[in-house]
Every structure is written in structure tokens, then in C-alpha cells.
Symmetry: C2
Amino acid sequence: MALRFAIMTALLDDEMSGYDLARAFDKSLGFFWHASHQQIYRELKNLSERSWVAHRAERQAGRPERHLYHLTPAGRKALDAWVLQGDRMRLQESKDELYIKLYNLSEQNIDYLAGRLVARREAMMERLYLYERIRRRHYADPHSLPLRRKGVYLALLSGISQGRQYLAWVDEALEILAGAKEELPASAVSIDPA
Amino acid sequence: MALRFAIMTALLDDEMSGYDLARAFDKSLGFFWHASHQQIYRELKNLSERSWVAHRAERQAGRPERHLYHLTPAGRKALDAWVLQGDRMRLQESKDELYIKLYNLSEQNIDYLAGRLVARREAMMERLYLYERIRRRHYADPHSLPLRRKGVYLALLSGISQGRQYLAWVDEALEILAGAKEELPASAVSIDPA
DNA sequence: GCTACCTATGCAATATTTTGCATAGTATCT
DNA sequence: AGATACTATGCAAAATATTGCATAGGTAGC
């Protein structure tokens, strides 16, 4: 349901192709709602049938045609109505397998899990770097933004603040894991005079 | 896929009924992986077919029978193996419609969206309170915990830290929205001498 | 007595998401 | 020359998740 409206939201400013949208959903909007290109093409088809979006073809030399989608007035109206519609407030559940795996922490998997945490830290740092760049480039002076852009800015702030919090948590978690490992009996490696 | 293992994880300590699991997924484990009772019963059936869990019936006076599930040795083995298996690291996307709605911030919906933020703050404060209570009750001295419980503690820490971050963000967002509203021309309410 | 909610289980339909496949030309690296 | 990656679109199947319904007795408040 929401993906439909996320796509329309992305079309508020510019017309975009399915491919463009797929890339947009790898970035800013995708931080809040991920979608694969297959999903996007299917939704675009659905939205076209509803006449909430329409497209024009753009021929390119050598390459496949781009179908550039844009909001219709009916789509714009539907989007505006959706924003004001009831809100199933599921408080964010950070759906990451790693948490479940942490519930299974053991001597056998502690190194593996610590490694996965490090990988997440790196990925998050990269993303955080991207967001900070966007912030500096487009939201350096939030006070002067038009109202709608202030909303986007709030979402961006949430991403940045979540990212920083996540990095701090990973670091703390790694420290605790390192401490726990030291206390472990060096059983497997010990030269046991059998 | 992961729900299967989340359920097995919950069965590590105690045997539980589907109903018990459903309630557990409203609390601690559910912060990381939500599941409805229908899903849980289906997975339990599936897990039984794989012989990864087994159950015994417990008759109760007046009430329906409870089917108490427990891990089998094969289930335990499968769980241990899963923890070490490849990890599709999708960095958490806070899948909340509200972010998309914020991208559509306008004079028409600013009050509504601010109200939804307040509702989220209240819900998060309640949850945070629950987590802090769990922390004080069961994880007051994290250093002395056995290894596996330290993993659970890390997940709990993540929940607490995310919750606090979220509250701080909501407050900042509400302030920015309040500031933005003040700057708005008082168009709709003004006594316009037509 | 009626209403609402809790314990306790589960089926079925629908909606959403993921994964695999398919096509086709261009560009870049080795 | 061949491998890999990028632009660009889309179908189909499988896995997951949500929503509605169904049963059945117990407890608590009005």
C-alpha cells in the first residue's frame, strides 16, 4: 500500500523512469522504504491503470526507451488524501536477523557475530557519510527551506540520528564482546596434557 | 526464514505454547522481529514437520489445551548452524509510513503529522519504560551474565539506545514543525475584508 | 444479563516482498 | 576478445506477512 504512495512522492518534483525510481529507492527514500525494481515496475503499472500516474516515452540512441512517469492531478489528489488517512503506527521494529543471532551468542559464534557487527559498522558509516553530504549540499540552512522540503529534512535528520546511534551501539557491543571473550577459558587452544 | 529461527531462539530457555510465543513477540524478541499469532502457529506446524520442535499437550481445567513446544536436538543443531550462516545484511530501513508522509509535508497536513509524531513519542516512551524495567530487573549487572545472556543484553541495549534516539528526534521534529507553523501566513483564519 | 476482554488454537484469502529468470544494447577493463 | 558492469524493462514463482474469520470457555465490570 505505502509503496504506491512512496513512488508518487518521489514523482512530486520530477518525472522519473522506473529505473530512476529504483535508484532513488537505493538512496534517500529507500532508507525509509526499500523496494526492488521489479516491485517498482509492477506498482507503476498498477498506478497507470488507476490513472494516478501517466508516462511518455523518450527514445534514446542505442538504448532502450525510457518511460518517464509523472503524477496526474488525480494521483496528486489521492496522495494528499492518503497523507491524512489513518496511520497504522507500528513502532519501528529493526528487522535484522543479527539481533536474533545475538540472542544465540556462544563461544562458537562470538567471533563470527563480532565480524558481522564490524561489517554493519562499515556499511552504516558509508551511508551516514552519504546523508551528511546530502545535508550539507541541500539542507545547510533548514530554516529557509519551503515547507515540504522541511518535511524531507526531518526524515533526513532521523536517518542521520539513527545512523549515529547505531554506530555508537555497535562500538559498545564490540567492546562488550571483546571483554566477554577475555574472560572465556582458553579451552580449545590450551595444551592439555592428556 | 528468520521467523522460524526466532521462534526456536525463544524456545531455548523454556518450553512455550503458541500463545506464549505470541505474547513474547509482543515484547522483547518482537522489538526485533514482529509476528502475529497466526504466523507463529503456522511456523510451529512447519517446525514440527521438520522435527525441529516437538510438543506435549497440557490439559487445563475449563480452558483449551496448551500445546507446549520445545526444541529437539535436531532443532538445536539447525539453530546453531543458522547463526553461523551467511548474513544478508540489509541495513535497517525504518519502515514507517510516517517518513513518507513527512516528505509530503504541507500546510494542510502539518497539524495531523505533528499529532502522529506525538502519538509515536508516547508509544515509544511506554516501550522504553518496559525495556528499562527489564534491564533493571534482569541485566543490572551485565558483567556477571553468562555469555548467551550477554548477547540478549546487547540486543536490549540496542533497543534502549534506539528508543532514546527516537524520542530525541521526535522532540526536535516537533520543534521544527512548530517553528515552521509560526512562519506560515495566517491565511485561512484571517479576517479578509473581501 | 450484557459487553468486553483474555486464554487458546487454527484456516483461508489477500497483500507484499523476494528471488530467479529474461532480453538487449553500451561501456569499461584486462 | 572476453568478462563484467551499467542502462532499461518486465514476467512469474515462491516466500512472507497481514487481515478476516471461526471456535470456545472464563473472568470482570456495568
